[in-house]
């Protein structure tokens, strides 16, 4: 069950919960970009401190964020290993063909690790404190400029909100099917990787079958109710810019200044 929790919205009334989703989405993307401008260890320490502060502000237990990293940990470690063993420079401790261990490699390895982890933490903050539906609105708002290229943002936003809308259903259904197959004697988490993959078939196929059926039904229902995608739409939920959003943006500016300053150290 724990794994299925990843990225689910936790209700709450923290500062972060109350921020406008557009601000949050923008700030998240901005901080992720900032991660790639950090050039030294002080910068990463600063961003770690800031990220942990933000995570603390959400009022959500640390486990929820750690759970976001867990499924990706092997991928992260793989990338970090590549960095560590194939980067030269500084003091070289060990060398065997193209593989080496150098002080420079260790540092870049640490940077890569920090970038991944911080990236996941900060985007988890976004998904844990923002309702999926608000997130869709925010994406819609940020994509608006694309309309001048005659790209249909509305269709895209609708697709996105429908998919997000059905994630909880899909998760519930997954739990049910997993239970049903366990009752039929499937033991998960046993055997080698091929055997484990095979065990996914009885889970994934019924899910596909029901998702396809549901998509078809939904499309029919929307058609019957007269939905047309090329009409101009009004919105039920209006997003409002508030003082706290200005405060948040100000903090982002300060963070940028701090990163620029720390980079010079």
């Amino acid at each position: 069950m724990n794994k299925l929790m990843m990225g689910r919205y936790f209700s709450g009334d923290s500062f972060l919960h109350q921020l406008d989703p557009r601000t949050k989405l923008f700030a998240t993307l901005y901080i992720i970009a900032l991660l790639f401008f950090v050039e030294n260890i002080w910068g990463f320490l600063l961003l770690f401190a800031v990220t942990f502060f933000i995570m603390h502000q959400t009022g959500i237990a640390l486990v929820a964020f750690i759970n976001g990293v867990k499924p990706l940990i092997w991928l992260i470690l793989f990338a970090v290993m590549l960095r560590i063993f194939f980067t030269g420079g500084g003091i070289v401790y060990f060398r065997a063909g193209p593989v080496m261990l150098s002080s420079f490699g260790l540092i870049t390895g640490f940077y890569t690790f920090s970038r991944f982890v911080l990236m996941i933490f900060i985007s988890t903050v976004l998904t844990l404190t923002t309702k999926p539906i608000d997130l869709t609105d925010a994406i819609h708002a940020l994509l608006k400029p694309l309309q001048i290229f005659r790209i249909s943002i509305n269709d895209f936003a609708l697709m996105l909100s429908i998919s997000l809308r059905f994630i909880p259903n899909l998760l519930d259904e997954t739990t049910k099917i997993v239970d049903a197959q366990r009752a039929r004697g499937v033991v998960f988490g046993k055997g080698n990787i091929i055997q484990q993959m095979k065990k996914l078939v009885p889970i994934v196929l019924p899910l596909f079958a029901s998702s396809l059926k549901r998509a078809e039904e939904l499309a029919d229902v929307m058609e019957v109710k007269g939905y047309q995608s090329d009409q101009k739409r009004t919105r039920y939920r209006q997003l409002k810019w508030q003082v706290r959003d200005a405060v948040a943006l100000l903090m982002i500016v300060l963070l940028t200044a701090a990163v620029v300053f720390v980079n010079r150290l």
């Binding site: 724990n2 929790m5 486990v63 259904e173 049910k176 239970d179 049903a180 039929r184 009885p202 079958a209």
Partner: protein, 285 residues
């Protein structure tokens, strides 16, 4: 197999969040070879109770004795596997679990998992198809190409193919037409009788309770309110009102007639025949 719930509590722990107890202080004895119906309002915890018999939902306190096995909060995987082999569980809308390319493979999935040999599996598949009344000609068809009622039969065949001693069913008739529902339940009753099964059935339909079960468990808010013989429960007017239990059709008719006559009859009739007899008796009395 006898099933005993001993001071059982359980919840659905979701990551860091502990929910309230979904099953609370449940004590229950389901006798060997009995046919027990579980009733109660939605959200009472009926499905959760069934899952516990199969070890799909583990207790957070207390223990469940299933035959010689015991399910505890820290239960070994081997014990659970052994229990699941003996306890067949039919979920609500079991056809949603179908996945294999052919009906044969799907029904054979459980037996294979529980260590049946190829030959044993093949025999078990054919035997269970016969039991649920499926035409052997469907053996090589894709389960997805069958009708809803047939799919449900395939799903149930997939459960009984493992030859369980206990059969637990979560509203096996839901979503079927009355005819299809009666066929499925009658088939379950035949299985129960012919194979000396211990059967637990969750249902919302009191006519099913009367027609198929001999014991009834009433649940509300995660607790067992009472466990009785079916006739006793429906004879107990106070209990019926207190737990907001619907009446089976014949009893409902009897109550209407009683109201018209302005007096209560001596017994509660659960079948139309009993109602007819009762009316004759009351008329001549």
């Amino acid at each position: 197999m006898q099933i005993v719930f001993n001071q059982v509590k359980a919840d659905y722990q979701l990551g860091p969040i502990r929910t309230a107890n979904i099953i609370n202080e449940v004590n229950l004895l389901i006798a060997d070879q009995s046919f027990t119906a579980v009733i109660g309002p939605t959200g009472a915890g009926k499905s959760s109770l069934l899952k516990m018999i199969n070890g799909l939902l583990l207790p957070s306190a207390g223990s469940i004795q299933v035959g010689e096995y015991s399910i505890t909060p820290s239960c070994k995987k081997q014990t659970l596997a052994a229990i699941r082999k003996r306890v067949g569980m039919v979920f609500q809308f079991p056809e949603h679990q179908l996945f294999a390319e052919t009906v044969e493979q799907d029904i054979g999935f459980g037996p294979t998992n529980f260590g049946f040999s190829r030959e044993e599996t093949r025999l078990a598949v054919i035997e269970s198809m016969g039991k649920v009344g499926l035409d052997p000609a469907l053996l090589q068809r894709s389960p997805f190409s069958l009708s809803g009622g047939q799919q449900r039969r395939v799903a149930i065949a997939g459960i009984i193919a493992t030859k369980p001693d206990v059969l637990v069913l979560d509203e096996p008739g839901a979503g079927l037409d009355p005819e299809g529902k009666r066929e499925i339940l009658t088939m379950i009753q035949e299985l129960h009788d012919n194979h000396k099964l211990t059967t637990v059935l969750v249902t919302h339909d009191m006519d099913d309770v009367v027609a198929y079960a001999d014991n009834v468990v009433v649940m509300a808010n995660g607790q067992v309110m009472c466990q009785q013989k079916v006739e006793e429960l429906f004879a107990d007017k106070e209990a019926l009102v207190k737990w907001k239990i619907d009446l089976p059709e014949p009893l409902r008719i009897q109550r209407c007639i009683e109201e018209q006559c302005g007096r209560a009859f001596s017994s509660a009739s659960l079948t139309l025949e009993a109602l007819a007899d009762l009316l004759l008796k009351e008329y001549f009395a």
